[in-house]
Point group: D2
């Protein structure tokens, strides 16, 4: 077998540590050689657990001679510089969303990568690796639903921290449906409208939770998204595509142990994203590692990251203004 891909993990908060552990224990052909985090004790703890070195400076970690590829799970504000450094070093990078925190810096990365002879930047939109989303995508592209006309999304979290206000809900949660819609429909989102109704009493004053977000696409299709992050129940992510020849829905039934233990039939719902998308994360990592060994990517790229940033920016404006806001995007190089 070829040697393992040597990976630097930048940022080992919840998401980064989850990936580091997966790479160390479940992903074939990968070795985490370097761990970096601005919190030195956290970096040390993860590094010790998986047998890696701590490198205190993220740019040194990227440049480290024992690093073939980089997984970025640092806070969004750090992404622009770190992804650029990976591009400069010619090292494949898997960057958790968002690509960057503003449109201009995201587009700069699009342009920077376009000067290379191959893509190096993959975005961590893990749903594209979820078996149900893949089946749904295949059903659409095979024509099984006819021309898709509508997409309905539901995204509910049981609870979130206090700082999840309306804008944060767009940038952190709706961003997944942005990518899902683009992935399933294979076209860009051109406008965003946010419908605000009665908020749950669990939401802080001024936070519109739940909201209904409506996207329009290049060809004029409509995508609706219920985003409700304090539902109190479970992690529910559903998508329904309605086409000219049928409809298809994923995410309704889960954990298929049906019980009749209390005068009810039914089952449990996944409590969080790890349970719901665990397989997707593992598949994403396994396929990225295989691609990175070839010096490339296998999944959503820098353009998808840029588009998501642009749509979310319009979404934030839509929250602020209550109007339908057009998505402004530069030409694809």
């Amino acid at each position: 077998m070829s040697a393992d891909l040597r990976i630097a993990v930048l940022g080992v908060g919840m998401m980064g540590a989850f990936h580091a552990d997966a790479l160390a224990t479940r992903v074939k052909g990968a070795t985490v050689t370097v761990v970096n985090d601005f919190a030195a004790d956290k970096a040390a703890e993860v590094a010790a657990r998986i047998g890696a070195r701590v490198v205190a400076d993220p740019f040194e970690a990227i440049a480290d001679p024992e690093v073939d590829a980089v997984l970025i799970a640092t806070p969004g504000a750090a992404h622009a510089g770190q992804v650029q450094a990976c591009l400069d070093a010619g090292k494949p990078v898997l960057c958790e969303k968002p690509l960057t925190t503003d449109i201009a810096s995201s587009y700069a990365l699009v342009q920077a990568e376009a000067k290379l002879d191959r893509p190096l930047v993959q975005l961590g939109f893990m749903r594209r690796f979820d078996a149900e989303y893949v089946t749904l995508h295949d059903l659409i592209t095979s024509g099984g639903l006819g021309n898709p006309l509508l997409v309905h999304c539901t995204h509910r979290n049981p609870t979130v921290p206090e700082h999840f206000n309306s804008e944060f809900m767009i940038r952190d949660s709706v961003v997944h449906e942005v990518d899902v819609a683009r992935f399933l429909l294979d076209e860009e989102i051109t406008s965003v409208q946010v419908l605000r109704g009665v908020a749950t009493s669990a939401a802080p004053e001024g936070t519109n939770d739940p909201m209904i977000v409506v996207f329009e696409t290049t060809s004029g299709r409509l995508v609706t998204d219920e985003i409700y992050v304090r539902s109190g129940i479970a992690y529910e992510v559903r998508t329904e595509v309605v086409g000219e020849a049928g409809s298809a829905m994923i995410g309704l039934d889960q954990n298929l142990v049906r019980t009749t233990t209390d005068g009810r039939w039914g089952g449990t719902i996944t409590p969080g994203f790890v349970e719901r998308f665990g397989q997707a994360y593992d598949t994403e990592l396994q396929r990225w590692v295989a691609a990175a060994k070839q010096g490339t990517i296998d999944g959503p790229g820098v353009w998808d990251g840029y588009a998501a940033v642009a749509v979310c920016e319009a979404g934030v404006q839509a929250v602020r203004t209550g109007e339908k806001v057009p998505v402004v995007m530069e030409a694809r190089p």
Copy 2:
């Protein structure tokens, strides 16, 4: 419109009162003119509620000039004489199971009816009028499942009175699956075997609850029936037919309001037979009334009642002996 069918209801315990109320409030073209019960106060109460007369003697009730047809919901031991009286009077009768309490008297009724020019005796096997059983039956007869090979039945009650011992379970509960199997497969049951395992601690000493009952049919098909009357959960009645070209199941999902109210998806299960088979009872009565106005029946007849008695008798022997017991039946006239 033609005048209402005038009905005597014999026996107004739980089942009879349920029927009397249905006839009085929901069944078109029917009027309960006479109510009879050995408990005079109960008869008076029901009669007052629905505007009928009490007739204290069941045979006088049958003979009453204001009675066109008879619904028998008295204890099983009274059925033989009462059904015979209806035949003698030439009046259509809907008799709740069992037809009679022994094989000989049931066969005597088969023979008595055979001397008439048309059927008068209908048995109260209401499942034949349940929309799901009808659809399943249609699916089989239309060839949608190919040749049916196996039938699997599940029959669970949440709780039953103390006197529901193993033999009672056969005569009172399994009797429904006897008729279901005969209805769906359109052939006779030829043997019964009862498999006894570990009993629930809710069962009295000596009562095999649950049991697995196995029928063989004339053509050699197998029917399995889990009968479990102290499940503690709900009223669950399922039937699955497995054929050469597919399988079909009814009764699994119920009350299709799906909720996600407590970290679970799912719904409630019908608590009892009224909720589960309410529509079937109403349809049974409506169609019987229409047929009785024409002096005939529209549903399972005296032969079906006789066959059920014969199979249950074998079932009781199977409980006692632990052996596979053949069903002994006379020739159909």
Copy 3:
């Protein structure tokens, strides 16, 4: 038993004939004595089938001495005068939607009935009698979902006639969701917005099929409705209510004979409204007959009819303008 309620059925097109047959064959305590239709042959055919008289003039039918109550299933344009005649005659009336074809005439009926000492006008919003909608309503009013925040509706027909354009879709189809939303949330709808995307190629030029309709209610709740009347598949009517303490959905799974006949699990979907709402129609009629015998109604009334007309009028404006249109309603007397 008391004598049957004697009913005149005005209009025996598809809907009226369906009701006339139900009253004649399935509804206890009702006799259709008079049938009226502008098409004389159609009236004669139905009258002959159910044993009623034809009365050629609808106002004579209403006034007929052998008529205790009236069921109106004539074209909408005839409703205003016919309902007013029933009010004048003091006869209970069950009027199919719409109450009338414009807001002013509907409000006039509201005012006319308010002068009486009891309600006489019931609207034919049959979903309020559907077992699943009733359960959903009970779940909300019992607090089982907490404060309801959102309602999502889906309304798909397999196919419709050519004349079902966008405005017709509002008046004829969305009107049901208008009543469902008002019934479930127990408050008025205050605005309507219509989102128009890509239309199915099965729709005529200029018809927005499907559409997403969004209602706001008095308290600010949001209701979304996908209306898609040329889905090519089946009659699919779903409603999901999302509350602070859980969500509940009806209409997803139907006809619960699960089959595995072709490498798929699943079941069939109701092809049309008769199959989906047959029980609701029967229950509606049975309860209306019982109430009408008492000279009153038991279900949605003239105000519900008026509100539906007012919301649909706003909906039609919303289709025309693309804007969010406020619902204008007079005060409730």
Copy 4:
């Protein structure tokens, strides 16, 4: 990270090649160094694909100094000698079912392993690693169903080769339910009865397909198993456990992309065991590799293999005799 576990794969037919590919591409910490098969070309093909050496003699493969552990997927008749050789070499082994082809040789392996200080032999009962079976097992052991009373199994294949006769169905298919029952109930099976009904016309003369197999356990519980290997539909594996406090079922709904594409709701069913149990096989291998690095096993062991052989032997006798046949087992060392 520690060095990879070096594995010899003996037998690279369908199952062995599947495992070899999984070890080479998806299982962390494992390298297949040696491939062996009596078919030299098959061995060469697989070895080339995954970068391993061919060793023509299975015992030399076991003894190879570059082999730390052994995966046996050879025909059952070869297992006894190969597993013994692994025990002699002190190398961990994952042996596909059956452990051996007769009771005596299986028990000899039980005794041989008992002389060692730790278990080395793991059996390839992959269902113990399936997420649904694990959840079901957890539900039972946590008391969520109360005392389990009954287990109902369904095992349907779409089609099998001609040589799958009744005895083969026991040894090759029912063996999985033997292990499932023992795993879920945590006790031994003490008798086997086989009920034979009407066979599908797809079965060769003399083959009882489907059959109903009934197990009794030490404590007297009943386990029913419908085994139907020519269903023509799909690969359907269901298990329902019925306890004193509720029931639970797995395997009914699959591939949860619900479609309404053809007047039906529903989804597809897994066509074969790879699709149904792919995750279970991967988890089995990953955990076995981790354990084997420690010189031990992590899953069903030699005793489970022996018990399965003993129960299947009784099952074959039950097929031949039509009687209930006791399972004869030696004492556990």
